[in-house]
Symmetry: C2
Subunit: 407 residues, 2 copies
């Protein structure tokens, strides 16, 4: 008898009919003899409806009260799901974040979980109940309602799995697992049976939206066995996210290819090449709350240097304004902006032990005449910035070059 934590997102519980489907899925799990704790999100659209209401009342809603309002979305779902379970003779009991006592800090709208009181859950499990917990919410030390921020239900599920040492934490979504890349771009994309936490983190940070990044970090830290599955299909094992690469198996060098269209390049041309110039350029940009991604500084010549960095396209205006304000600090220069950039990344823990990955990637792109404008790397990832029009081609070429289309 295993202890399973299951998390169902907003789409999976989006209608009364779908809530009844989820109930049947839970019943099947109970019939296999497992203990089940379920974490649910608000019905899809509900959180936005509630936020809309707050905006009608206040242009700048008080964070404490925003949490009071928004947390009702998940509370409705837990009640409805328990009713549906009861109707098919599955004993169930709902818990709000406050009732299960998911203790968080007091950072309203983006709180962090500090601890979970496992005693009431253990007691109800031992009495044969399915436990249904409202995701995304908790209470602080003073009993104020807090929320964990968007996607926080994944984090709730992982935190409960960690606290109760569950055998597995299953995240049900509208996709059936993690893919080598987006199947809408590469029809040969394959679902991965397993992937490491590090790889998943890199993929998530690069825009793959299967799991909330914080929940993956959390699962990695507490060694929670995490699995992504579809709530709309009855078959399939989904993708298991593992703590360590499997030592017994031949690991693929590359696990997946991620990409992001939303890139813009800002270049500062001919700035005086002196110590501290990188800070004089990027400091003001960071101060205006713009995330800088890739950075390249060219070798100086004639006492001047060219300095490029990428930002999200939506941040270009803010970044330019920050540079304009700091132009006295930077010294004489010209600014160029390119908003037709894209980023492609290959991710895989295997590249630690296989040095030729970068060369292989650059050659595959070069063979297709795709010019690499910037490069960034981590221990298990290589990212390149290219012109957006080459994006699909680049993803397909790399997918094939690293043999991801083969099982």
């Amino acid at each position: 008898m295993a202890l399973i934590v299951q998390k169902y997102g907003g789409t999976s519980v989006g209608t009364p009919e779908r809530i009844k489907n989820v109930a049947r899925r839970i019943a099947a799990c109970r019939e296999r003899g497992d203990d089940v704790i379920v974490v649910v999100s608000a019905m899809s659209g509900e959180t936005n409806r509630l936020i809309g209401l707050t905006k009608e009342v206040s242009s700048k809603p008080l964070p404490r009260e925003l949490d009071v309002v928004v947390s009702t979305g998940e509370q409705v779902t837990i009640g409805l799901l328990c009713m549906a379970l009861h109707d098919i003779d599955v004993k169930a009991k709902s818990y709000t974040g406050g009732q299960v006592r998911i203790l968080t800090d007091s950072a309203h709208t983006k709180a962090r979980i500090l601890s979970i009181d496992e005693a009431p859950i253990r007691r109800d499990l031992s009495e044969g109940s399915v436990i249904v917990v409202a995701g995304f919410q908790g209470v602080d030390e003073a009993g104020n309602i807090t929320t964990l921020g968007r996607g926080g239900s994944d984090t709730t599920a992982v935190a409960i799995a960690a606290a109760l040492k569950a055998d597995e934490c299953q995240i049900y979504t509208d996709v059936d697992g993690v893919y080598t890349t987006d199947p809408r771009i590469v029809s040969e994309a394959r679902k991965l049976d397993s992937i490491t936490f590090e790889e998943m983190l890199e993929l998530a940070s690069l825009g793959s939206k299967v799991l909330q990044i914080r929940s993956v970090e959390f699962a990695g830290k507490y060694k929670v066995k995490l699995r992504v599955l579809s709530s709309f299909e009855d078959q399939g094992e989904g993708t298991l996210i593992t703590v360590e690469e499997d030592q017994n198996m031949e690991q693929p060098i590359i696990s997946g290819i991620a990409f992001n269209r939303d890139e813009a390049k800002i270049t500062v041309l001919g700035a005086p090449d002196r110590p501290g110039i990188a800070y004089r350029i990027l400091g003001p940009v960071a101060d205006s709350n713009v995330d800088v991604d890739m950075i390249v500084q060219n070798v100086g010549h004639d006492g001047a240097t060219d300095f490029s960095f990428t930002v999200s396209r939506g941040d270009v205006e803010k970044a330019l304004k920050a540079l304009e304000a700091a132009k006295g600090e930077i010294g004489e220069h010209v600014i160029e902006t390119d908003t037709t950039m894209a980023k492609v990344s290959v991710v895989g823990v295997g590249m630690r032990s296989h040095p030729g990955v970068a060369a292989k990637m650059f050659r595959a792109l070069g063979d297709e005449g795709i010019n690499i404008q910037m490069i960034a790397t981590s221990e298990i990832r290589i990212s390149v910035a290219i012109e957006e029009k080459y994006l699909e081609l680049a993803v397909r070429v790399l997918h094939k070059a690293f043999g991801l289309d083969q099982a």
Copy 2:
């Protein structure tokens, strides 16, 4: 500096705009220097929407989970109202029933308040905050969410006023006070400046829907000064509901005229006139959960008696079925049903010291040719059953006969 509890119903907080209006009303009260505790209902329509959702999921929603779902309605309102208050620089803090610790019994969907923890409220009041409490809800000893049943927000307000010994509990509704009778029937109906709890209870039980009857009982028991006001008008003192009749003033004999169209008369003709016949007839009716209102047993003749009683029209079928099942017990009889009855009542504490009220009432009706079919009395009320077609005429005649059109 007074401590005021204000309660706003669903219509008063029915839209974001109305919530902002309520905030301005509270701000005005603060400016007069009073401490304010506010109790709110769910936005109008919200409770029904939530109940609708539960019915889509389950034909017989689990009461514990029904409370979990339905209680979110008030939780949304408290958050929104606090935001609106904050926006006009009024410090405010919201409390769910669980947070303020309104402790109830465990009778889900119809729980009764056992105690209220006044410490957190006192602390926040002393810090200059307006306290906004979700009406209609509480928690039981085990921390389960409970609700008090429809209209329970009035009870929450009165219970808080009692616990904190507030100077006044103001119930804001869509009417501006308690009237001598329904102004839609008698244009000369006057708003009463004050009325006693006993009178209010009689009026409420007779179908006057200004206040929930339980909240009036509660207020009477704990001697809470209760006032009914309109949330849509800025003028007016509403109607004060007082613990005792004012000894210093000339009391009117009659305070108001109540009526109810929803009456049906069931008559058992020619039943054997023997001891216990009333129980044999009414026992089965009560057992089938039908409330019996007025009862008349005619003098027996030839060993037989005629026995009449009134029930709500919606209960006629159930009552007849109960009588049919018990016909062996009752003995030979014939049953007649009349579903065109109405009830008119005059209510006033003054009738205790003025014996001629009944005679005056009967004469006024008789002068208009209105036949009285049944009579029932309490210490401060006389009710008569008449044909429904005479209802408006009867109310107008009595309103005039007792001088209620004169200030």
